[in-house]
Amino acid sequence: MFRYNVKLALKSMRRNVILTALMIAAIGVGIGISMTTMTVYYMMNGDPIPAKSDVLFAITMDSWSPLRPFNDDKPDRAPHQLTFHDAERLLAFGEGKRQTAMFESSLIIEPVNEDELPFEAGARVASADFFSMFNVPFIYGSGWDQSADAAAEPVVVLTKQLNERLFGGKDSVGERLIMQGTYFQVAGVVDTWEPTPRFYDPINGAFQEINEMFIPYSLTLALELQSAGSDWGWKSEDITSFEQWLNSESSWVQYFVELESPRDRDAYVAHLDAYVGEQKRLGRFERPMNNNIFDVMEWMEYHEVVANDSKVLVGLSFLFLTVCLLSTIALLLTKFVGKTSETSLRRALGASRKVIFNQQLVEVAVIGCAGGLIGLLLAAAGLKGIKVLYEAPDGLVSLDWVMIMTAIGLAVVSSMIAGLYPAWRVCKIPPAAQLKTQ
């Protein structure tokens, strides 16, 4: 019966092309707009590393000024980054299963090809565990190991794009390149990796592209690597050397630790408390004890990765969809009124009310499906527009299968809801109503 109803629906849609087109357009526009905003919201709000989001933790410790909080509006918040000194100490303790200290930097690359000019590339300076902690996929080679970290070896992991630019996309593991006057050996090339949001560094932009390359955190001192990201300070310090800068109270290092169980989490907080207690005795950390660890989703929420504006926009777009559906109800009523005589005949020939109701709902579902497809095209165009307008990363503004199925499902379900009343009206037509007047 379902196939028969679909066949009847298609015939009925062809019978009044303009009315059908108007309904499909109304649903399509509503779905297109709501799916555009919902996709952005969904991508912003999605779990960027579902396999590990509950075992990866960002660390904060309140080493800020005793006179005022880090954030006047939210005085309970500690700085989102650590001082280099504290990060070094936590790394040395190695209390977690894995841990990485990291910051954003940029280096000048001298290309192997002498015809090319040197260029600047963004780098993430991180510990060896970064790659295994964050499930970074590799196309060639791998990350560097702990011994490279310990020996501060000049090794580098390239993104696919940078490898393409420097080595034409070939397996460049073992190749060398010069940065900051130092020869770096390529340890690996990262495959396509677009965590959205960029959970490991929402501070410097949750929706930025990932850095173009990765180098060991242990090179910071040797190469005097400067942070190209945010850094915050509260203390007036007389800094005349890079070493003094590293030992200052400026906070510019992000720190993540991998902890496998709630017990490990509790133990790690206790460890942080012990460390801060020790530092307090040395005259640092003058504010009340305020150590926190956040799993990935908590960290996203903490940084309000999904702006309230986005939520409002999604709400408004669904209101618009409702308006479109109300228009569809009016159009459906008009369409179904035109089918009164056929419905009356079908009832006379033995169709029950339920059968007629189902037939109308299938027709509405087919219209909804067509509207959903139009909506998807409009959503794809809308997302492309957002990408061009805001230079958003691909991961944020692309329709994945979940969203495609959601669009079709939403279109079908919402149009069927819109079709309930018209279908009910039609199925109430008495069988003898129009038989004499056809």
């Binding site: 019966m1 028969y4 015939k11 062809r14 019978r15 005589s341 056929e342 005949l345 079908r346 009832r347 006379a348 020939l349 033995g350 169709a351 029950s352 009310r353 339920k354 059968v355 008495p430 069988p431 003898a432 038989l435 004499k436 007047t437 056809q438």
Partner: protein
């Protein structure tokens, strides 16, 4: 086959009450061909609608094929209509964008018959009315008489116990009207009970019995052989 006793039907609006049938008592035997005549407003169509379970009524009882169908639910009436009653309408009532095969298929779809069974019934019904070669045509490609034959095929395909025809020749010229009536007589000869509403006395005379309605009541009955009147 059909036994109505004391049936009353009233149409009500806010201002007016119209008595369409008053104490209607009618009996139609198995395999009978009955014509129902009467002037406009005499209750012919209302009688046929009630007989065809298209409308309900307030008082009285109605037995169809040995079963009391007076108080069936809407769903049960649909099933009854589909399985036991065939309808032929004055204006043919074919669905314009379905071809002849699909039009005849409509009531069979609601009976949930297998595809093969439906196909066999449809082809046989269209052969009976002489339109098997045109089953892929749409109604607009046929004459009025041919369209009415398709409607008859649609009614026949379900093997109904009773065929209800409401002015089946009303929209046809006399030649086509007689062809359609010839067809109905053939169907009747095969044992199907037929009740035909008409105000054409010539056509009514071809039925075995003529029931004349006046103001919602049976005013007279005339049997073809005897042509006797029993008011």
């Amino acid at each position: 086959m059909l036994q109505m006793t004391g049936v009353k039907k009233t149409y009500r609006t806010e201002l007016v009450e119209t008595y369409a049938l008053r104490d209607m008592t009618v009996s139609v035997n198995d395999g009978e061909f009955v014509a129902v005549t009467g002037s406009s407003g005499s209750g012919k169509t209302t009688f046929l609608n009630i007989a065809g379970l298209l409308e309900s009524f307030e008082h009285g009882t109605y037995q169809l094929d040995g079963e009391d169908v007076s108080r069936l639910s809407d769903d049960e009436r649909s099933t009854y209509r589909n399985r036991k009653i065939g309808f032929i309408f004055q204006s043919f009532n074919l669905i314009p964008d379905l071809n002849l095969f699909e039009n005849v298929d409509v009531p069979l779809r609601y009976r949930r018959l297998s595809k093969g069974d439906r196909k066999q019934r449809i082809e046989h019904a269209l052969e009976t009315v002489g339109l098997a070669s045109r089953m892929k045509h749409v109604p607009a490609q046929l004459s009025g008489g041919q369209q009415q034959r398709v409607a008859i095929a649609r009614a026949l395909a379900g093997n109904p116990k009773i065929l209800l025809a409401d002015e089946p020749t009303g929209n046809l010229d006399s030649t086509m009207a007689h062809q359609v009536l010839d067809l109905l007589e053939e169907i009747h000869a095969d044992g199907t009970t037929i009740i035909m509403v008409t105000h054409d006395q010539d056509l009514a005379k071809r039925a075995e019995r003529n029931i004349h309605l006046l103001d919602g009541r049976v005013a007279a009955e005339e049997v073809a052989d005897q042509r006797s009147v029993a008011a």
